[in-house]
Symmetry: C2
Subunit: 382 residues, 2 copies
C-alpha cells in the first residue's frame, strides 16, 4: 500500500512538473543509508535561495527566498505558489536578505509570523526582527520588534535564525566580520538574543541590570555571546535545550549547546584557522570562562539550518540533529548521546546542491531547500 | 634546513627503491589538511598485510606480516629487511595470522617481545599470546602466556591487539563470529583480558573469585566484555585510560573507553545493523548495565589499530586518536574533549590503501602499514 501511494504521488508530481519545470536536474533520486532507504523528490522549483520553510496549519508552506526578499506560500502537493503581498521590500544585497521565518507557536490563533532580515544598506547594514499578521497570502500589521546594534560596513556574517521557546523568541546574530565585536557585549554582534514575543526584554535575561566594570554596559537582550556566524538554531523537543551551530573560520564550524549567559569563545578560542592557514587569535581551543563546542566539522561544511528530528517516518533517525551543508552539499546527520556527538552521517552526498533550509511535516517527511532553487522532500522507501 | 634534509632522505630512499622496488604506486604523495600539510613517503614495500609496527631501541622496526606469519626487522632509512628466525610457523588462514606485536616496556633490559596470533586450525581456531626474547633478528625462549578459550569453527573475528599498562598486559579478543559468546563470560570470546607480564592472572581483575549465579563461573582473565571484533587498543599517555575500537556489524564500528568490568553490549545493544539491513538482537542502542560507545563510525570504516598521538612533529594533532581504515582507505583522526569526540577528520583519503597498522617514531613522525604491502611515513611539510 505505501508503495502504491508513493507512485501515485510521484506521478501527479511529475505531471505538474511537466507543465512548469525549468529546473534541469532530475526530479527524483533514490538513496540508501545505514538505517533507511529513501527518495528525494522535487516538490517545488524555480526558487532563489529558499532559506526558510515553515509549514502552515493548512499544510501549505511559507517559504522565504533569501536573496529576492520574497516570502511565498507553496503547496507542495502540486508545486503551486503565491507570493505574500503587503510586505515592504526587504534589503537584499550580497550575503544579505531574508534570514529566517518562524510562526508564532499560537499562529493558528494569532496569525503572527516572525521574519528576520537585513536592514540598512550594503555599506551600513544590520539585522532586524519583525512580525506581521498573515491571512492567506496577505501580510499586515508589520511591527519592528528588534534591530540589532550590529551595524558594520560589511554585508556578511549576519546570522539571523529565529527560535521560540516557552514564550520567548530567540535570534542569532553574526559577528558582522568584525570579530572583536563578538567579545564586546555592548553591541549585539556575535550573540544570540532573547526577547518576549512582543520584542520587550525579559527581566530574567542574564545581562539585565549588569554594569560593566569599564566601558559600556552589556546589552540586556543578550542570552549568549562569542558566536561567529550562527545560521542554525533549534530547541530540543524533549530536553528544551537550545542548540545552535555557526560558520567558523577554516575548519572551525561548531555545534554548541547554548546556555544562559554562555560565551562561546569567538574569536579568542577556535578549532579553526585563518583561511591562509594561520592561527586564529591566540591559536588556542579552550579558555576558562568560555564554552567548548559539542562538535566541530573538519573540514568546514558551511552549516545552514538545524532540525532536531522527532518525526515518525524515519524511526532510525529519531533524535538526530540534521544540518544542511552549503559547502559540502549534503544533509548532515549527527547522533547524540547525553549531549555528546557519537556519530556523523552524510546523506544525499553531492546530489541535491547547497542545502540551505530544513523542515519536517506532520508525517515526519523531511524537506530540504537547496540553492539550486529546489525544495526536495525526503521520504522513506518501503 | 628541514626541507634540505627531507630532500636528501627522499633521494636516498628513491635510489634504494630503484634497486628493489616492486610496488607500482608512486613512492610519495603530498596532502593538505586543516592543521598540517604533510607528505607520505614509502619507506618499506613488498610486505604482506603489515599488521604491527614496533620501533626497537636502535631505531629499526619490528614488523608483523599478518597473513604470512612472518616477523621482520626493517630499517626504514633504506628499506632493508631481515626476517626474524627461531619463531615457529604461525597459523595462517583466511582472517587469521599474526594480530599484533608489542615490546615489553622494559624491552631494552629484558628483550621480551609479545606476539598475539591465531592458533589451531582453520576449522578449530582461537588466539594465543606468546612472548619471546629477541636478540638482533634471532628469537628464543618462546613462551605461551595465554590461550583464549574461544575456539570456534570460524577463522574470523579474532581481535588480538596487545597493550601494556602499569605492569599488566592486555589482549583484545573477538567474538569469533559466535556473537552470543560475547555475553557469556565463561569463555574469552568478545572480551579484553588483563594479565601480568608473565601471563598470570592479577588478583585485582574484576571477575577473580566471582561465582556465577547459574552456569559456569566467569573467567578471571576478563577485564571487559561484550566486544565484537576489537582490532585497536591503546592506553592514553596522559590519562592512563584504556581505549579500544571494534569492528561492528554494518554501521556499528565503535570506539570505547574501556573500564574495569565494563560490558560493551555486543550483541544485545549496537548502533549497527545486520548486513542485510535488519536489526541486531533487540534493535536497541542502550541498556542498563551496558556501556555506551564514545563514537560510532557511520557508515563503517573497518578500523584497524589505534594510536593516541603525543608526538612533536604535528603540534596540531597532539592528543588526536588515529585509526587506520581498511574499508574506507584513509587515516582517521578523532579529536576528543573530556572523553567526547568533538571532530573527525579523514586524512590521505583513498590514496594509500587499506591502513592496517600505525606507529610513531621518536621524532613524532607517523607510520602507516598498508595492505598494499607498503609502510608509509607521514612527515609535515614545511
Amino acid at each position: 500500500m505505501p508503495r502504491i501511494a508513493g507512485l501515485l504521488v510521484a506521478t501527479l508530481f511529475l505531471s505538474s512538473l511537466a507543465a512548469q519545470a525549468q529546473d534541469e536536474s532530475p526530479p527524483r533520486f533514490e538513496f540508501s543509508s545505514l538505517q533507511h532507504e529513501y527518495v528525494a523528490e522535487r516538490v517545488a522549483g524555480d526558487l532563489s535561495q529558499p532559506v526558510a520553510i515553515e509549514f502552515l496549519p493548512d499544510g501549505k508552506a511559507l517559504v522565504g527566498q533569501r536573496n529576492l526578499g520574497i516570502v511565498s506560500v507553496i503547496d507542495f502537493s502540486d508545486g503551486s505558489r503565491k507570493d505574500v503581498t503587503g510586505l515592504p521590500k526587504l534589503a537584499v544585497y550580497s550575503d544579505a536578505g531574508i534570514h529566517d521565518l518562524e510562526l508564532h507557536p499560537d499562529f493558528a490563533d494569532n496569525g503572527w509570523v516572525y521574519v528576520s532580515y537585513s536592514v540598512g544598506e550594503e555599506i551600513h547594514s544590520s539585522v532586524a526582527l519583525d512580525r506581521f499578521h498573515l491571512d492567506g497570502t496577505r501580510a499586515s500589521d508589520q511591527q519592528r520588534l528588534f534591530t540589532a546594534d550590529a551595524y558594520t560596513e560589511e554585508a556578511y556574517h549576519q546570522g539571523g535564525r529565529i527560535g521560540f521557546h516557552e514564550g520567548h523568541v530567540y535570534l542569532s546574530l553574526g559577528d558582522r566580520q568584525h570579530r572583536e565585536m563578538s567579545q564586546d557585549n555592548s553591541n549585539h554582534a556575535g550573540t544570540i538574543v532573547r526577547l518576549l514575543a512582543d520584542g520587550k526584554v525579559p527581566d530574567d535575561n542574564p545581562f539585565v541590570g549588569v554594569k560593566a566594570e569599564r566601558g559600556e554596559d552589556p546589552r540586556p537582550e543578550i542570552w549568549s555571546s562569542g558566536h561567529r556566524n550562527p545560521q542554525g538554531l533549534a530547541f530540543h523537543p524533549e530536553t528544551g535545550e537550545l542548540w545552535s551551530h555557526e560558520h567558523g573560520p577554516r575548519g572551525g564550524d561548531e555545534l554548541n549547546r547554548v546556555t544562559r549567559g554562555g560565551n562561546y569563545g569567538w574569536p579568542t578560542i577556535s578549532f579553526g584557522l585563518e583561511y591562509d592557514g594561520g592561527p586564529i587569535g591566540m591559536g588556542i581551543t579552550r579558555k576558562e570562562g568560555m564554552e567548548q563546542p559539542a562538535w566541530v566539522w573538519v573540514p568546514s561544511i558551511a552549516p545552514s539550518d538545524l532540525l532536531i528530528y522527532t518525526g515518525d517516518a524515519f524511526p532510525g533517525w529519531k533524535g538526530s540533529f540534521f544540518t544542511g551543508s552549503l559547502a559540502k552539499t549534503h544533509l548532515n546527520r549527527l547522533v547524540l548521546r547525553e549531549g555528546s556527538v557519537v556519530a556523523e552521517e552524510r546523506l544525499a552526498n553531492n546530489v541535491l546542491g547547497r542545502i540551505r533550509s530544513l523542515a519536517v511535516d506532520r508525517r515526519g517527511l523531511i524537506y530540504l531547500g537547496s540553492d539550486t532553487g529546489t525544495i526536495w522532500r525526503i521520504s522513506p522507501l518501503p
